[in-house]
Symmetry: C2
Subunit: 359 residues, 2 copies
C-alpha cells in the first residue's frame, strides 16, 4: 500500500454564518452542528484512515493559530497558511507539493473542513475505497453524493452510461452549478451526483492532470517546489509565488477537462450546511417549525431560526421565517429566503470599516 | 391667587417599551423622545407655572431613587412612593392629601410624567388658563386634546352642546375608550376631545367630588390624612392604608360621574407615545420608512424601527415592519402591528423568573 495522506481545506472567510462566524472564527472553527468545531470533527472522522502526522490543513493566516488549537495532536507544521486566497486549484497544487515533499509516491485525499457527515464508519469505508482506487491506477477519484433534491448550489458529476465496476464508476463529465430546470432533469435521470469537493489521487496523477489541463497552475506549483528544494522556508516561498498563481477552481481547471475521472458513491449522510436554513435542519424544531438555541423566548411566529450566544435573551413576537443570530457585538435579523444576502452585509460592514464586527 | 401645586404621576412599569424600559427604568426615566428623560422634560415644561418646591412626584419604590436623580433641585420629600399600585383614583387622593398638608386652600394640577409635548409656551399658557378656571370656581378642570384620528386607545371628553365661554368649555361627559366605529363618529362630530389625563382643581373641589361619587376612596384618603395629622410618617401611613384602597381609575370613579367638569382646549402638540410605533413618528425616517437609532445596518426592508444601545451592531436583511430593540442583556424583535403583545412577553419573562431581564 502506498503512503496515504489527507489535506483538509479550511479556508472559509466566515461570511455566510456572520455574525456567529467571523474572519478569525469561520464555520469550520465553530460547532455549527455537533459539539466540536467542524474541523475537529473532520479530522476525528478520518481516524484510522491516515495517521494524524499525515494530515495537512490548508488555511489562511488569520485562522492558523485557531486551527492548530482546534486539532490537538496535529503537528503545527502540518497547518499551512496561504498568504492570499487563490481559489481551489492553487490550494490543490499546494497540497500536492506538501505531500510530495514527504513522499512523491504517495496518494492523498482532499476534504473540505466544514461539512456535516453522519455515519463515520461508512465514511471511512468509502474513503478507504477511494484511496484503493486512486492507488491502483493513475486516475482522479471523487466521492459523489446521491442527490435528494434538484439543488442549484452544487456542481454535478455525471457517470458514464455503463460501468462494469459496482464500486468505482467512470465519470462522463463534471458540470457546474445548474439552473433549477437542469437540476430537475439531473435528478430525474439518476446518473448525476453532487460534487462535494472530495478528491483522492496520487501525487503523480494530479501533477499529470495539472500538466495536461492547467499548465499555468503547474508552473506555479513547480516554482513552490523548487523553492522548497532550494531550502527556502515554506512561508517565504508562498509569499513570493502564491499571489502570482492563477485564481481558478480545481473543478474548472482540471475536473471538467480530465478524462480519467472515477467516482465512488457516498453511502454516508452528507450535508455541506452552507447556510443558516441548512444548519437548522440538523436541530429539532418546535411544533411551529421554530429552531432555537440559547436563551430565546418566542411569542407566536413560525419557521424561525433563533440563536443567542451568552446570557442574552432574544424575545421574538409574531415574526415568521426569520434568521435571528445574536452575538456579543452584533445581531443579525434576516429573512430566511434572503440568507444569501448575508454576504452583502459583511461586505458593507467592511466598506464602513467596522472591522471589529468582522474579526 | 391661590397657592398652586403640580403632582406628576410617574408610576409606569416599563412594559410597553421593554427591553429598553424596565421596572427600574420605565419610559418616564428614559429619553424616549428628546435628550432628557420624559419626566425631566415634564418638570422643566412647568417652569414658571409653579415653583419647584410645589411639585410633587408620585412614583413607586423601585423607581424613587431614579426619580429623585432625574429631577435635580426638587426636594426629595416631594417624591412620594406608593407602596403598591392602586390605579389612578387612589393616586389622585394621595396627591390631594399631599397638597392639602401644605395648604388646604391650594389648587393643583395632575400631569402624566411621560408624554411628548411640543410648544412649551403654549403649554404653559393653557395650564395657566386651567389653573385660573379651577381657582375661580369649584370645578374639575381637564385639558382636552383635539383628536386627529379615530383613536381607540384614549378615553374621550364630550363638550356640552353650547357654551358661552370660548376658553373654558363645559363638559357633557367623559367616555371610556371607544371601538373604531364609535371613535370615527366622535371624530366626525367635532365635539369630542381626547382625555390626556391632565386635571386641575382645588383640593376642596376634588375632596367634594370624592365625597359625592367615590365615598370608599374618600374614606381611604381621610385615613391617610388623619394618620399624618397624628404625626405618623408618610411611609408608615401609606404602608398601612394604601393596600386597602379600592383599585379604580379617576375617570371611572369621578370624572364620568361629576357634573361640574370643564375643559380647556390644548393648543400645543401632544402625544402620549404609548408604543414603539408612536415613538418612531418623532424621528426622521429614511426613504423606505425605516427609523433607526444607534449602530444599525439595513440591507433592504421597509418600515422598520431599529434601536441599538451601546456599541452593538444590528444588521437587518430584507425585513419589513419590525420593531427591533437591542439592549445589553435582551433584544426584542416584534411585528409592528403586534406591539401590544410586548406586555405578554414581559409577563412570560416574569413567569420564567428571568428577573434580570426586567429590572
Amino acid at each position: 500500500m502506498k503512503d496515504r495522506f489527507l489535506v483538509i481545506m479550511a479556508g472559509g472567510r466566515g461570511e455566510r454564518f456572520w455574525p456567529q462566524s467571523r474572519l478569525r472564527r469561520p464555520k469550520h472553527l465553530l460547532p455549527i452542528v455537533g459539539k466540536k468545531p467542524m474541523l475537529t470533527q473532520t479530522v476525528e472522522r478520518a481516524d484510522g484512515v491516515v495517521p494524524l502526522n499525515n494530515i495537512f490543513i490548508i488555511t489562511n493566516r488569520e485562522q492558523r493559530d485557531a486551527v492548530i488549537e482546534a486539532v490537538p495532536g496535529l503537528p503545527a507544521e502540518n497547518v499551512v497558511a496561504e498568504p492570499v486566497g487563490r481559489d481551489t486549484a492553487a490550494a490543490v497544487g499546494l497540497a500536492s507539493t506538501l505531500v510530495k515533499m514527504r513522499n512523491p509516491d504517495a496518494v492523498f485525499g482532499l476534504l473540505p473542513a466544514d461539512h456535516v457527515i453522519h455515519g463515520e464508519k461508512e465514511f471511512r469505508k468509502i474513503l478507504g475505497k477511494a484511496f484503493d482506487a486512486a492507488e491502483k491506477d493513475s486516475v482522479l477519484v471523487t466521492i459523489g453524493i446521491e442527490p435528494t433534491a434538484p439543488a442549484t448550489g452544487y456542481g454535478y458529476i455525471q457517470l458514464a452510461e455503463s460501468d462494469a465496476d459496482e464500486t468505482v464508476f467512470r465519470v462522463k463529465r463534471f458540470v457546474e452549478k445548474p439552473d433549477l430546470e437542469t437540476a430537475k432533469s439531473y435528478l430525474e435521470s439518476g446518473d448525476y451526483f453532487w460534487n462535494a469537493g472530495m478528491f483522492i489521487w496520487q501525487v503523480k496523477a494530479i501533477e499529470q492532470a495539472f500538466a495536461d489541463h492547467a499548465p499555468e497552475i503547474c508552473s506555479g506549483i513547480s516554482e513552490i517546489e523548487s523553492g522548497l528544494v532550494a531550502g527556502k522556508s515554506l512561508n517565504a516561498v508562498l509569499e513570493e509565488v502564491y499571489p502570482k498563481i492563477q485564481r481558478i477552481s480545481i473543478d474548472y481547471a482540471v475536473m471538467e477537462k480530465a478524462a480519467n475521472v472515477v467516482m465512488v458513491k457516498a453511502t454516508f449522510d452528507w450535508d455541506d450546511v452552507g447556510s443558516w436554513p441548512a444548519v437548522a435542519r440538523h436541530f429539532p424544531a418546535d411544533q411551529a417549525g421554530n429552531v432555537t438555541r440559547g436563551d430565546v423566548l418566542l411569542e407566536g411566529g413560525t419557521g424561525n431560526i433563533v440563536v443567542s450566544e451568552g446570557e442574552h435573551l432574544i424575545a421574538a413576537v409574531g415574526v415568521d421565517d426569520l434568521i435571528i443570530i445574536h452575538t456579543k457585538d452584533a445581531t443579525l435579523i434576516c429573512r430566511k429566503d434572503q440568507a444569501e444576502e448575508i454576504k452583502k452585509v459583511v461586505t458593507k460592514i467592511g466598506d464602513e470599516k467596522k472591522w471589529q464586527h468582522l474579526l
